[in-house]
Amino acid sequence: MRQLLIVGGRIIDPSQGIDMVGDLFIAEGSIARVGRNKEATPSEPCPVLHAKGMVVCPGFIDLHSHLREPGFEEKETIATGTLAAARGGFTTVCCMPNTQPPIDSEAAVEFIQSKADAEGAVRVLPIGCITKGRRGEEMVEMGELAEAGVIALSDDGNPVRDSRLMRYALEYSRLFDLFIIDHCEDTSLSEGGMMNEGWVSTRLGLKGIPAAAEDTMVARDIALAELTGGRVHIAHVSTAGSVDLIRRAKDKGIAVTAEVTPHHLTMTDERVMGYGWENKKASPLPLSCYDTNAKVNPPLRTERDLQALVEALKEGVIDAIATDHAPHTDVDKMCEFDLAAFGISGLETALATVFALVHRGEIDLMTLLSKLTFEPAKILRKSEMGTLKVGAAGDVTIFDLDAEWIVDPSAFASKGKNTPLAGCLLKGKVMATIYGGDISYRDDAMKLETARREVKSKT
């Protein structure tokens, strides 16, 4: 019998409001027992993970990842991307369809699924395209994709410009209860833009992307969701304006959900100035400025936006934290800023990045963990994920809230070493990730006893 006992950890499950020290027993790939004082201990010897001083919670769910396969295997593969996910504490990743070919057919979905079954370290849920070839012209055959197993639709990176097409997609998607994830960007406002439009872009002489490029599209999508009754999910919200619009839409009861990335929650456009830049009035640029690892779309915004995003997360205006893991090669990034690819390799730093908010007292741990577990599961309508309820999937993440580590991209499991956090000291470390009852990642410091003998369950 496949079994695993996790002992002595601080068990936190936002889906049930549990926060207690106890043991967790997983059997046959599902949560079997959770309890204090060895209530959960099985009578027979089984493998044991010691989690004293650590947090044990449902495995994280990432609504937004780029695994790059098929087509861009030099950037990432399903094997390396899911390993990176496991190291980041994620047991489920939803992968975006901007691959080559794009995920707009049953065959493409099946390719992802078979690769994930064979090589995946964690669960992969494919997202299909909204339009054929992500060209923004004709809807995909949603029925075929739904039957093949996509969990949502998105033309990520290529926002659907044609409002009429978006309207029909939202209407038609109701037939299959699929939700639509939109990357909100008015490309006529953002065209040629390289970073947030503001004093930093002015200083660097780079073309800016105004916040309004996102806000206007969010407003449109909300209006269309209201019109059609379709479910729209706003990807990687980055502006205070979007937050206001989503808040009002939710107040009106419109079916809209939203996600935010760890980087938009913790970094501003000043990060493009590179390390060594002193945040003083009119200080000189360091040699490391024009940091292409801080080039991401939507761009890192301002302190005001950042504060609004944190507030929105606390209030529930933003439902989930998603990584928008976007791995790229060195060649894609070691070049002129204008030519560099957009994106941050985020799976392996996500947890420690957002824990900064907990350590600073800006958000409580239970709320934050709900944004990585229970809330994304709700959006996916997967009641067996993101929870430690008995019978749920045996997906568990164990982390040390206070462990400090220095980000070393060369040690990433992801092929994408593109992170603006290289060399940064982060606090909070994933110690083990259990997917479907099996250990998919375990830190060297995490002890595993293969068979515990001195169990006294009847004491």
């Binding site: 002015t202 200083r203 640029l285 070691m334």
Partner: protein, 325 residues
Amino acid sequence: MRTTKQRETEPSLEVATWRRRHILDLDDFAREEIELVLETTDAMKEVLSREIKKVPTLRGKTLVTMFYEPSTRTRVSFEQAAKSLSADIINLSASGSSVEKGESLIDTARTLQALGADAIVMRHYHAGAPYLIAQHIEVNVINGGDGCHAHPTQGLLDLYTIREHLGTVEGVRMVIIGDITHSRVARSNIWGLSKMGAQVVLSAPPTLLPVGLDASAFPPIAVEQNLDRALEGADVIMPLRLQLERQKQGLLPSIREYIQRYQLDAKRLAKAKPGALVLHPGPMNEGVEITPEVAQGAQSVIEEQVTNGVAVRMALLYLLMGGAQ
């Protein structure tokens, strides 16, 4: 006065304070450093006034110019400066080189270093490109203009020209007119002039003014959208080149309307202080941002800017490449 012997050899200057490796923008220049450059330029102008405009200072040194964007004055100016100091010069342009074969900028710069370049001057249409190569090679990097970001040698030659005519830059009111958003010259001038105690006034329609000028991007700058008001009390006026495609991009309703409101003509010039200097970074669109009458008028120092450019670049090459010896 210098002795004949000195004149035949080298300008004698104190370069002990110069520890700079690259010239990427003026934002990291101290005021004393700028003063040293301007004083060194005086000596170089003297060299250029000789019958034989050449000193052996940089003999055996190699300067490579990498110009990814078309340029007449900056490239030729550097070439002339290098030759006057007896340096060898190699001109590389993007077309006809391995750049066309897709070689990365870093690899091209490393190759030039391996081939023996002592300094590289780079002009690039992407902002930040000189910072990128400066991180990866050991040789001196001089920014010859990067995208909309900076053009430090232009900023220095403008400072020199102003100082030459007005005696000082301190307290000078300089009005820069036009397409500030896309102007690397404006950005570097803001740094240089502010550091030397001048007041910079920007005058442009809102679509040509970048956002965030009032925050911590730059030293304090005044913005006066009405050109007539901006020109009151001006000591120096610099209209920027207006690229005609700005109209196509929708930033302006028409060139005609721009001319009506922002062209520097004799009537507007009269609103500035008597004898105010007219500068232009070139190339000019005569009849657009400036009338030919003003461009060639008595107050124009546009040609002197070009001449001074050679001396300033000689000073910079001397300080960068010769100063260490």
